[in-house]
């Protein structure tokens, strides 16, 4: 199966604030980052946390964010492990680290 977001793809996290458990921290919602690598498929935590046995299984990606894009300042980077449904391809042209 081909991954939807190959390494180097610029993605944006969903801005959605769900009324349940999620593994997308609030500081990284609606933010743009670059896919580092796929990590393997896993049950979506948001659904599994509801005690349901039918949680969908999705690819998880390591996504690298510039501190400036998260906090408006800073020279470091933060990498998060994010399920595919937390992400959408970014409209911006594909670019690497700023």
């Amino acid at each position: 199966m081909t991954d939807r977001f190959p390494p180097g793809t610029r993605v944006r996290t969903f801005p959605h604030d769900p009324p349940h458990h999620t593994r997308l921290p609030r500081y990284a919602r609606g933010k743009s980052g670059v896919v580092v690598e796929p990590e393997g498929r896993a049950e979506v935590a948001d659904v599994s946390a509801q005690g349901r046995g039918d949680a969908p299984v999705e690819q998880v990606y390591a996504v690298r964010f510039a501190a400036r894009d998260l906090w408006g300042e800073g020279d470091h980077h933060v990498v998060l492990d994010l399920w595919e449904s937390y992400l959408e391809a970014c409209e911006e042209e594909r670019d690497d680290e700023r």
Binding site: R23, Y27, A42, V60, H76, V79, D81, W83
Partner: protein, 193 residues
């Protein structure tokens, strides 16, 4: 910790829960002992240190470790149920890596042993993603501004371990002597070796 009185109270409640679960036939005390022993058995930062020392002395192993951490630590017999995938991130002259779990306290127990109290603290979890340079300085690690810092926030099933830089002047040391230099904090990224 919230004082002796509360500690005695919660201690009593935990015992009561164990008794109730045993009476209901859900979990026996023996079963709790067993999983607790398994949880602690062999989980130690000495394991991560051995992996690091091997990577420092065996270039082919280092490459395997960075490409597929899970398989490489399994070669040395270190892998249990505490994580699905291990990713090893390498410190260099130009980059420094540090690990956190901002949402809870995810951590590669088998390789690093039980996590330190500060790793689970709100202070560390809230700040290291926002101001890693200041946080590392609080641990006594002052990095040049030219060093790029990457913070790995373990938010899914991967667990991270840092491969620290091998210190200069250690060419004559054996693998065991090198492993003895590697601390738990160095494997998390809050110290250098």
């Amino acid at each position: 910790m919230s004082g002796d009185h509360e500690d005695a109270s919660i201690s009593r409640r935990v015992r009561r829960l164990e008794t109730l679960l045993e009476e209901k036939g859900v979990v026996t005390g023996g079963a709790v002992d067993e999983v607790l022993d398994a949880f602690l058995a062999g989980a130690s930062p000495a394991n991560g240190a051995r992996v690091v020392a091997r990577a420092w002395t065996d270039e082919a192993y280092r490459e395997r470790l960075l490409t597929d951490g899970t398989a490489a630590v399994r070669e040395l017999g270190f892998m249990d149920g505490s994580f699905q995938r291990l990713r090893v991130v390498e410190n260099t002259d130009a980059t420094h890596n540090v690990i956190v779990c901002t949402l809870c306290s995810c951590y590669p127990l088998a390789l690093l042993g039980p996590s330190p109290g500060w790793y689970k603290s709100e202070a560390y979890r809230s700040r290291v993603v926002r101001e890693p340079r200041s946080v590392l300085a609080e641990f006594g690690l002052r990095l040049p501004t030219s060093t790029d810092i990457t913070v790995w926030d373990s938010s899914a099933e991967t667990r991270y371990m840092v491969l620290p830089r091998r210190p200069e002047g250690t060419e004559s040391l054996t693998e065991d002597e090198l492993a003895a230099l590697v601390t738990r904090n160095a494997l998390i990224g809050t110290a250098a070796v």
